[in-house]
């Protein structure tokens, strides 16, 4: 009786909600109220400033209300944007819940969820606005814009990163490498290191000769992060060691010519076995951090921050920004004197190692890498899409771009008589401080922006790329090291082969976005899980050969061929697109 009643209650309520859900599909998500500021300010010409919201499905730091540069930009453009970031949710959960809540921000970078937003019809097409706003149009060539087109033929977002005005002026090496502390190279009198054997030999020798830092911390010759998706530090070196560029998921072999690319799995090559065998030997010798397989990112950074790790394999951005502060702060040595790690030569330089000595390698990519899989978008909930695009366009005006990345003249940078921008030590320190950035700087870092040369032809769009700023920022041992090798930048130091990017490059822009509803996608996920378990296992193994065989067997069970086939299809597709724009294989 009672159960019957409950069942009928549930059923009737189900009906009620399904009709609600049906309604929801009919009406587009309602436009949200303008939120935020209690005091609507006005622009210079008396217009009211509009407040937009923006969500980026990434981790990030919010700006304070009344942020100095945000207000300046608002006065110039009539728009103020409140940025919100991912908190305690995965990108998928966040995008899903934002869609369901029906309250979308005005601007969004959906990250991995960008396609989901598009599929739900929540984004505004860029096509018409591109014609209207030249700064936006200028960002990419026709061919590049076409790569952003979705299957309905429209453009819904533009990736904002790694896009150079005029030419790529990167001074750093933002990508992956085997890094080594400059003091190790200095100690060995700046030798030429080309292979894994030479690299680990040097690390071991140095550690044997200098087992401790001045403050008594014991050194660790080599560590390697393998937490979650950041296990690329352990996993993809075989690709680079064989001399291939960072396609991220596979090697694209072009032995038969650029127009006949062939996808090869780097997990099963001889080089892969050689690399892991080498790590296994080094682990047995105690040259590799015993906690490498279980350390968290925080622990990894803590370890690096003490200066005790001599070598590692990672991408620059993943570790470098986090250890700058600790490296520059004074420490007390056991003899009571103070020292600084950067002055001691603990800064890292990248080595372009290869499987055999003398091979050419492509650890560094000189060209821009176009990632069309996500980017800045305007949502259908936006109060005034035209204003939003006008704002994004204005952000690319050189004066506003300078405000975003250089700051306020006289406060954040100075200009010399040649018109060159420069910063004082204090200004540089300010721009490293979180609290200063929260109340003063406003990069709108997920909105359209440039790298490369400034439109004034003198400066760089980004301070980090300004050659004078770059050299100023280097500690003495690092400068000395660069001089010893006769190079001026990280990328010169690495000495990668200078190649024009292949039409399919970088393939990670595809594999990062592969969804698990195809056999290849499922295989990709299972391969990842298998490697997470087995790679540290073979490194720590007492019986490398048999564990390697078990690993390869477990790996084969994931059906990697399904993934490789899809990768091959993507390479072919990209090649065809390039051909349709007149690309021909270089002879």
């Amino acid at each position: 009786m009672k159960t019957k009643k409950i069942v009928s209650l549930i059923l009737s309520s189900m009906l009620a909600v399904s009709s609600l859900a049906a309604c929801s599909t009919g009406t587009p998500a309602g436009s949200g109220d303008p939120s935020g500021s209690d005091t609507p300010a006005v622009t210079g010409d008396g217009k009211e400033i509009v407040d937009f919201t923006m969500f980026a499905a990434m981790a990030g730091k919010e700006k304070n209300e009344g942020n100095d540069i945000m207000e300046l930009i608002a006065e110039k453009t009539g728009v103020r944007v409140k940025e919100t970031w991912l908190t305690g949710q995965s990108a998928g959960e966040a995008i899903g819940s934002i869609i369901a809540s029906g309250k979308l921000p005005d601007l969004i970078d959906g990250g991995d969820g960008s396609v989901t937003l598009y599929e739900n019809g929540l984004l505004v097409a860029w096509d018409d606005y591109l014609e209207k706003y030249p700064n936006l149009k200028e960002m990419y060539t026709e061919e590049e814009w076409d790569k952003f087109r979705m299957d309905d033929g429209h453009i819904y977002w533009a990736n904002v990163f790694g896009n150079s005005y005029d030419h790529n002026t990167a001074t750093g090496h933002n990508g992956e490498a085997f890094w080594i502390q400059v003091r190790v190279l200095e100690w060995a009198n700046y030798p030429k290191i080309q292979t894994l054997d030479e690299y680990f030999k040097l690390l071991e020798d140095y550690a044997a000769a200098n087992p401790e830092l001045p403050d008594g911390t014991p050194v660790i010759p080599y560590t390697c992060l393998c937490e979650d998706w950041k296990y690329y530090c352990l996993e993809n070196a075989p690709m680079f060691l064989d001399g291939y560029p960072n396609d991220g998921c596979v090697i694209v072999n072009i032995d038969e010519g650029m127009d006949k690319p062939k996808v090869v799995d780097y997990n099963t090559t001889d080089t892969a076995k050689m690399y892991f065998k080498k790590l296994n030997e080094e682990y047995a010798k105690g040259a590799i951090d015993p906690d490498f397989a279980t350390q968290t990112y925080d622990e990894y950074i803590a370890k690096l921050s003490t200066g005790r790790v001599l070598g590692l394999c990672d991408q620059y951005w993943d570790f470098a920004y986090n250890i700058m502060g600790p490296f520059a702060s004074p420490l007390e040595a056991t003899d009571g004197t103070t020292f600084r790690l950067d002055e001691l030569g603990c800064d890292y330089v990248p080595l372009g190692l290869t499987a055999k000595p003398g091979m050419s390698q492509q650890w560094h990519s000189y060209d821009d890498e176009l990632n069309q899989s996500s980017g800045c978008a305007v949502t259908t909930s936006c109060k005034d899409p035209d204003l939003a695009f006008a704002f994004l366009n204005a952000l690319l005006d050189q004066d506003i771009h300078d405000l975003r990345f250089w700051g306020i003249e006289g406060v954040d940078y100075l200009v010399d008589d040649q018109g060159l921008y420069y910063r004082t030590e204090e200004m540089r320190e300010n721009w490293k401080s979180d609290s200063y950035k929260a109340k003063h700087t406003c990069e709108y870092s997920y909105c359209p922006q440039w790298a490369g040369m400034s439109k004034d032809g003198i400066n760089r769009m980004q301070p980090a790329e300004q050659p004078s700023e770059f050299i100023e920022g280097l500690a003495a041992p690092l400068r000395k090291c660069f001089e010893a090798y006769g190079v001026g930048t990280y990328s010169e130091f690495l000495g990668s082969e200078i190649v024009v990017n292949a039409p399919w490059y970088p393939l990670w822009s595809w594999s990062n976005n592969i969804s698990s509803d195809t056999p290849g996608g499922i295989a990709w996920k299972k391969m990842g899980e298998t490697k997470h378990l087995w790679l540290p296992t073979v490194v720590m193994s007492n019986d490398f050969e048999s564990d390697w065989a078990s690993y390869q067997a477990a790996y084969a069970e994931c059906d990697p061929q399904a993934f490789l086939d899809e990768a091959q299809a993507e390479v072919n597709k990209r090649l065809e697109t390039a051909k349709s724009y007149g690309w021909t294989a270089p002879v």
Binding site: S13, S18, T25, G96, D112, V115, D291, A293, L535
Partner: protein, 322 residues
């Protein structure tokens, strides 16, 4: 002795008081019925209406198409789950960690509450209680960082064990799948024992002091009083909490395992919630349907546990949920 008397008394009461549905009785308690109705309406709106979403488990749900427009796929999502070896593995992990946590956290919290209750000095008692529940307010991020720190090759545990000669070389505790469940259970106990004991401490206050007095007169020592007065007094609370937590066995968690796990222990560390996060809440392929199917599975199992254990409790004349 005491115990058996109270128990038989309780069983009798239930029999006598079993309400019979009569118009007169209904009229007598109309106010209770009216208020209940309000609660039922509230419950339907906030708890039962969203269950309509369960329909998604039988569809390929796409938000833009809604519940009415999405394609029906029958039991396909359930088939995917139960044919995936990984899903069966995460069920095992979730269940094992859930049961370990249930058993140990209940026992340890009860022991702690009883021992604390024996303290005569009020200041000492209050201080210990306040301290014991403090870790509850730390986030798992912080607790895991400390656990991690203690268990690394240079951590305090390895240092103690090697200096005592129990271990020859530092042991990689965090990379050993055999130890993972133990570490998880211990972390839970560490963080939550004091907090879990609060309910028991409150329940102890409802025990009639006369019972202690008469036990003293009968010559019972402290252990006997704990055994024959305090513990039986706590019995209803223990039973209710056990019954309720029985249904939570499959909610063994996400954060702790996620933060503590790594590639080497992934086969024992991943729980159902982590699986859902990996496969259903992947931004590249949001699969609400799969997530909902897993949720329905959890609910069905939980309700089965609850109904069965409630039935057993009823048979044995114990406190029960419904």
């Amino acid at each position: 002795m005491e115990n058996s008397i109270t128990k038989s008394k309780r069983t009798k009461e239930i029999d006598i008081n079993k309400p019979k549905f009569t118009v007169k009785e209904f009229k007598r308690q109309w106010i209770l019925v009216a208020i209940s109705a309000v609660y039922v309406v509230y419950g339907i709106i906030f708890y039962y209406l969203p269950l309509v979403g369960w329909i998604m488990a039988f569809q390929n749900f796409v938000y833009a198409k809604g519940l009415t427009g999405s394609k029906w796929v029958g039991l396909q999502k359930f088939k995917f789950l139960f044919s995936d070896k990984t899903f069966l593995m995460v069920i095992r992990n979730t269940f094992a960690m859930g049961v370990l946590n249930l058993v140990f956290s209940t026992i340890v919290a009860i022991i702690f509450a009883i021992l604390l209750n024996e303290v005569k000095n009020r200041f000492f008692k209050k201080s210990i209680q306040t301290i014991s529940y403090l870790p509850h307010f730390l986030s798992w991020i912080i607790v895991v960082a400390i656990v991690h720190d203690a268990l690394t090759s240079t951590g305090i545990i390895n240092e103690i064990l090697t200096s005592l000669g129990i271990l020859k070389a530092p042991y990689a505790f965090l990379g050993d799948p055999k130890l993972f469940w133990g570490i998880v259970t211990f972390s839970h106990l560490w963080k939550e024992t004091g907090w879990n004991a609060i309910i028991y401490l409150a329940a102890i206050t409802s025990i009639d002091p006369c019972l202690y007095e008469s036990a003293s007169i009968d010559g019972a020592g402290r252990f006997q009083k704990m055994r024959y007065v305090t513990l039986p007094g706590l019995r209803p609370t223990i039973m209710i909490l056990l019954l309720m937590n029985m249904g939570n066995v499959l909610n063994a968690g996400f954060e702790l395992q996620y933060l503590l796990g790594n590639g080497l222990v992934q086969n024992v560390s991943r729980t159902i919630d982590i699986y859902i996060l990996d496969w259903a809440l992947d931004a590249r392929n949001l699969d609400y349907s799969l997530g909902t199917a897993a949720g329905i599975f959890k609910t069905v199992v939980s309700m089965t546990f609850i109904v069965v254990s409630n039935y057993i409790a009823k048979k044995k004349g114990d406190e029960r949920l419904f």
